[in-house]
C-alpha cells in the first residue's frame, strides 16, 4: 500500500483557515457571559462549519448544518433565552479545575488515538476502502440515484433514517409535553410584540418583503425535496426550510395569524403521520414479500411486472427504489417541517409571564 501524504493544496489551506476560525469561536463562546453573544457565535460556528463541510466534499451535511445549526437551532435558542435570561453567572476558578481535568484527560485520549489515524485525505485509509467504496460502486446500480448520500441515507441505511425521523418526532413530543402547543397565545388577547408588528404601519417593509420571500422559500423547499436524488438535499433539509418559511410568517405577521392557518393540532398530527408514512412504506414492502424497507418490493409483483425496465424482467430495479425513496422522503419532510413548527409554537406561545429581562 503506497504511503500517502496530505498535499498542501488550496483545499488544505482553506481547510486550515476555516478550522482556525472555528477554534477562535469556541474560545469566544467559552469566555463570553452574555448568552445572546454565545448563541450568535454558535450560529456563526455552524455557518463556518457548513462552509468547511463543503471543502470536505460533504455537501449534504453542509446543507443540513446550515439550515439546522445556523437556522433552526438559533431560533430555538433565542426563544429559550427570551423565556429565561440572557446572562450567565461567573464561574469561580476553583470550580473550573475539575472540568479542566476531565477535559484534558479526554482530550489527551483523543489526541493519543488521533495521531495514530491515517493522514487526512488518504484514499487507502481503512475507512475509505471498504464499505464507503462499496456504496460508490454499487449505489447507482442498486438504487439508481446519482446522489449517493441520498441512496445510502434512504435505502441502504434507510432504517437509520427511520430512527432519525422518530427522534425528531420524539423531540416535538417532548417539547410539546413540556411547554404545550402555544395554546396560551391563542387564548390570550393579542400579544403586544406581535400585534404591534401586524397592525401598525411601521413594519411595512418587513411585511412586503416577507410576502415576497415566503412563497420563494416554500418553492425552494419543494425544489430541495424533489431534487434530493440528484443533488444535495432531501426531506430533512426541505422540511426545515419549509418550517423556516412558516416561522418567518409567524415572526412578521404574528403567531396568532399563523396558528389560524396552520393550527397546532394539524402540525402535531402531521408529525406523527410522517413517521407513520415512513414505517408504512416498510410494512407495505413486507406485505409484498420483501424485507422491511426493501423498496424493490414497494409495488405488488403483478404491478411491477407491467412496468418497463422492471427488475423482474432483468432490468434495473429502480422503479420501486425511486418511488420508495420519494415516499419516505415525504414522510421525513412532513415530520420535520411540522415538528419544527410545533417546537416553534411551543417556545413562542409560551408567554413570558415573567419579566422579559430575567429577575435581575
Amino acid at each position: 500500500m503506497p504511503s500517502f501524504a496530505t498535499p498542501l493544496d488550496a483545499n488544505t489551506i482553506v481547510d486550515i483557515a476555516l478550522l482556525a476560525m472555528l477554534a477562535v469561536i469556541v474560545v469566544a463562546v467559552a469566555r463570553t457571559r452574555s448568552l445572546l453573544t454565545a448563541i450568535i457565535l454558535t450560529s456563526v460556528y455552524s455557518f463556518i462549519s457548513a462552509v468547511w463541510l463543503v471543502v470536505m466534499d460533504a455537501a449534504d451535511v453542509s446543507f443540513t448544518e446550515a439550515v439546522v445549526g445556523a437556522g433552526v437551532s438559533t431560533i430555538i435558542a433565542l426563544g429559550a433565552i427570551l423565556l429565561t435570561r440572557s446572562e450567565c453567572s461567573r464561574i469561580p476558578w476553583r470550580e473550573t479545575l475539575l472540568p479542566l481535568l476531565l477535559v484534558t484527560v479526554t482530550g489527551g485520549l483523543l489526541v493519543y488515538a488521533a495521531l495514530d489515524l491515517p493522514s487526512l485525505g488518504d484514499p487507502s485509509a481503512p475507512a475509505n476502502i471498504y464499505v464507503g467504496r462499496l456504496y460508490l460502486q454499487h449505489a447507482e446500480h442498486d438504487i439508481g440515484t446519482p446522489n449517493i448520500v441520498t441512496a445510502v441515507l434512504s435505502s441502504y441505511r434507510g432504517f437509520d433514517t427511520l430512527g432519525e425521523t422518530t427522534v425528531i418526532f420524539a423531540a416535538g413530543l417532548g417539547v410539546a409535553l413540556l411547554l404545550g402547543f402555544g395554546e396560551r397565545a391563542l387564548q390570550d388577547t393579542p400579544r403586544p410584540s406581535m400585534a404591534k408588528m401586524a397592525e401598525s404601519g411601521q413594519h411595512v417593509v418587513l411585511r412586503v418583503s416577507a410576502k415576497m420571500l415566503i412563497p420563494m422559500i416554500s418553492i425552494y423547499a419543494f425544489y430541495v425535496q424533489f431534487h434530493g436524488d440528484l443533488g444535495p438535499g432531501g426531506g430533512f433539509q426541505a422540511g426545515v426550510i419549509m418550517a423556516v418559511a412558516i416561522i418567518l410568517h409567524a415572526l412578521v405577521f404574528g403567531l396568532q395569524e399563523t396558528m389560524e392557518s396552520i393550527p397546532p393540532q394539524l402540525a402535531r398530527g402531521l408529525s406523527a403521520f410522517g413517521v407513520l408514512l415512513y414505517a408504512g412504506v416498510g410494512v407495505v414492502n413486507l406485505t409484498n414479500g420483501g424485507n422491511f424497507l426493501d423498496y424493490d418490493h414497494l409495488f405488488p409483483r403483478i404491478f411491477e411486472e407491467g412496468l418497463p425496465d422492471s427488475h423482474l424482467v432483468g432490468g434495473h430495479h429502480i422503479w420501486g427504489q425511486h418511488f420508495g425513496i420519494l415516499a419516505i422522503e415525504l414522510g421525513v419532510f412532513l415530520t420535520v417541517a411540522s415538528t419544527m413548527v410545533t417546537i416553534f409554537y411551543a417556545f413562542a406561545g409560551r408567554a413570558p409571564d415573567l419579566s422579559p429581562h430575567g429577575e435581575g
Binding site: 501524504a5 448568552l35 488521533a114 485525505g121 467504496r133 446522489n147 448520500v149
Partner: protein, 146 residues
Amino acid sequence: MSFLLGHFNYLIVVFLMMGGLWITFSSRNYIKRMIGLALFQTSVGLFYISLGKVAGGTAAIVLDKTSKAGEALNAHLSPDYVARAGVDGVVYSNPLPHVLILTAIVVGVATLAVGLAIAVRVREAYGTVEAGEIAELDRTEAGPRA
C-alpha cells in the same frame, strides 16, 4: 511536517470537541450548558467528516468523467492516483460518514430543543436557570435532602 499536515484536522477537531465539553462541564447556566453540548456534538460531526475525506475528491454525486466538471476535477490529479482512489474514473469522498453525520445533526437539534424546553420549565418553576441557585432552592424550600 507532512505528518502535522495530515493530522492537523484531527487535532483542531479534538480541540473543538473539548471546548464544547468544557463549556458543558464548567457552566452552571442551563442554556450555556446546552450551547456547549451543541458545539460538542457538531464537532464530533466534523471528526467523522474528516475521516471520510479523500484528497482530490468530490462530493459523492455521480459524475461522468468525460463531462466538463469531471475533466476539470481530473485535470489536477495523476491518472495513476485516479485509477487507485477513484470509482469509474472519478475520485469521490467517502459518503458513509456524511450519512451518519446527517443523522447525528438531527439528533443534535432534537436534544437541543428538548434541553432548552426543560430549561424554560426550570426557569418557570424555580425562577432561575443557574444550577447552584436551583440546588440552593431545593435545599431550603423542600427540606433537607441527603
